[in-house]
Each structure stands twice: as C-alpha cells, then as structure tokens.
Point group: C2
Chain length 216, copies 2
C-alpha cells in the first residue's frame, strides 16, 4: 500500500485518485474548487480544499511521506509550474505533472518534475493507430525492435494451417498464441497443423513493421 498526493481534480486528476484508491492505496486529494473536493471524498482518505500554489498550505502536509505526487491543474500552466517548484523544494520523492503542451512540459522538467504526461497526445496516437490499422488490436513495444502484438488474421489466412503460412520465413514473426474470440479458448504455442478460423486472434512477437506486413 502506497501514499499518493493528487493535486488538481479535473478528469485526469480525479481518474488517478479514483483508480489508485480502488487499488487500495492511501490518497490525499487537493483542489481549490469545492465541488471537486466534495466529489473526491468517496475516493480519498483526505480531501483538501486549498490553493496548492500556497507554500504555507503545502508545508502543512508531510510531502516527504508520499511515494509520489500527481499534479494536473489544467489551463493554468503557471499554477502547475509553481506547485512543481514547491514540491521539489519540499523534497517530494516523485513528481508527475500533466503538461498542456511541449513547452509547458519542458518548463516543468526544468523546475523539478520527474515525469510529464500528455494524455491527449498519447490517446490521439492510440486512436490514430487503431483507425489506420484496425486489425492491429493492441501491442506492447518491447524496446528498440521487438513487439508483442495482438492482430486479427487477414482473411486469406482463414482455413489454412499455421505451417502452410510460413510466418517465420515470410515475415520473421513468431506466433505465440491463438485465441478464439467466441469461447475465449486459448492455445499457447499452437501446433503447426492448427487451422486458422475467422474467429481467431493471433498473438505474435516480432518487429512491428513485420507484423503489420502480415495484414497487407
């Protein structure tokens, strides 16, 4: 169980507080708006109505005891910059701040943020990828090259055996597993004689560009 300080309870801050609280962590939440503080009461151990740019307020909380602080004060960039500066001075162990744009992000890192997040940009990329390649259901990049990806097999795979498709030779991709979407049944390292059905999902490992080539 960890201790988290959440400053700024817009959609992002409230979402972080809620999720962490439900996972059993100790949450101190702060906002200068009364309705937000009231809303967060069911998702926090301490809900504070305060202006977090005020050093006097921050000194009254044991900042050093938190595992991390998450700051998201939205449009008011100056507020998040000032709060970050203060948290750094009060030796906060880890400071994560929601940035409004890349300049804001650079300033935040300069004044002491350990991590800056750009929720809209990250979701935008995720949505764009799902529109661009609807068969690429999800993926985890494992570093420079290799990716684990979940894809819907192209129609010309249906009714063919894994062996006949020569995935390793043609695409340099390894098939880790096949999942049937209808019954959820799961074959780990399926045998080469397994036939592809249109209700299958493939879990592959390889370079993302090679996995995407499968769908062309």
């Amino acid at each position: 169980m960890k201790q988290f300080l959440i400053i700024g309870l817009g959609n992002f801050g409230m979402g972080v507080a809620k999720t962490l609280y439900k996972e059993g962590h100790n949450i101190t939440a702060m906002d200068k708006g009364k309705s937000r503080v009231q809303l967060v009461q069911s998702y926090s151990n301490q809900a504070l109505l305060a202006d977090a740019t005020d050093m006097v307020v921050l000194r009254q909380i044991d900042i050093e005891n938190f595992d991390a602080a998450v700051v998201s004060t939205g449009i008011d960039q100056h507020a998040s910059i000032l709060i970050t500066l203060h948290l750094k001075e009060l030796k906060c162990r880890e400071i994560i701040v929601k940035a409004e744009d890349s300049d804001h992000g650079r300033i935040l890192l300069a004044v002491g943020a350990d991590r800056v997040v750009f929720p809209e940009e990250e979701m935008a990329k995720k949505l764009a990828h799902s529109l661009s390649r609807p068969n690429l259901l999800d993926f985890i990049p494992l570093g420079e090259d290799i990716t684990v990806a979940e894809i819907a097999p192209p129609t010309h795979f249906h009714g063919k055996t894994i062996a006949s498709l020569k995935l390793r030779q043609k695409y340099h991709v390894e098939l880790i597993a096949i999942k049937d979407v209808l019954d959820g049944s799961f074959k780990f390292i399926p045998s080469p004689e397994t036939f592809f059905k249109d209700t299958d999902i493939m879990v592959c490992i390889g370079k993302l560009e090679d996995i995407e080539r499968i769908q062309e």
Copy 2:
C-alpha cells in the same frame, strides 16, 4: 491509404491529424480558430477555417467519402453534439468523438457517435497502474482472462535459472521471452537453464493477477 476528417484541433485533434498524416493517409482538418488551421497545414491535405456546427459548411465537403470523422471541440459540448448529429445525417461512415464526461458521452452516442473516447480518464488509469505496480511495465489484455505482460523480474529471481523458479507450477504463467535492457538482445522461448540477470525484462503470458503475484 484512407480518408479522414478531423474536426477540432486542440491537442487531441491535432495529435490525431498529425499521426494519421504521417502514416500516409489523406487528411481534411477543420477548426474555427485561425492559428490552429495554420498549424495543421503541414499535417493535412486540406485545412479548413470554418464553424463545423454549420450544416451549410458540412454539406460542401463530401462527408460520405471519409473512412471516419474525429470530432474534438473541447469544452463546448453543444458544438460536438450538434456536429455529431449533422455528420450522422450526412451519412458519415464512422464518427468518433472526444467526450468531456460520461453524460456528454451518453448524449453523443445517442445522437449518432459510433465511438466516444475519454483521453484523460484512460491516461489517468494507465498512470495510476504504473504508479501502483512499477514493475508491471506494460500489458495487453487478451480478453476475459489471459494477458501478455512485460515485467521486471523481482530481485529474488536474479542469479536463478528459469527452471528452478517453476513459473508454470507456482504461478501458472508462461515465460515467452527475456530481453536484456542493456544490449536489447532477445531470447524467444528461453531455455530452462537460462539465468535471470538484473538487466532482464520478462515477457509472460497468463492471468494478470498471477503475473502480478510474481512480484510480491
């Protein structure tokens, strides 16, 4: 190559336009703000300065020709609701709208949106999970039960062989691969005699709760 219509060029809309444009798709972007339209010029084939709630404006674009439209007009919920309604009337094939809160999302679905997205909430959950379980680096849920996850092995694994850890018996988890973070080298289905190092990352398949148990 697909055709996309992006209405509303805040951080989210601009991010979608940029990503799709760089992936080689045809982009028509629209905003009522001049600076945003100017900014999107290098990431679109058509950049239109217009109020998208105006049906007259929308009739001048061939709405039916787009693979999808992405609407994100921010705080002005009424604008996105009206635009969605119009796009539906003009037979837009797929309408994706950024929602400000769950009520807004419900209204959008009711007036014809095919998909609503909540970028701040989704990123909030993702951040919360990474704060709660920093060793769980990334994961793809494959459906009801099974997940592919990338984790940092707990310290008590270091110097031990895969075989001695009995991952399948103790945790019901399969180790798909080991990656070395220093040189990026990658072992697919590593041999049971492989020793774990502190520079390793494990790629596992199994239930998320079982994978998380590994780190306790």
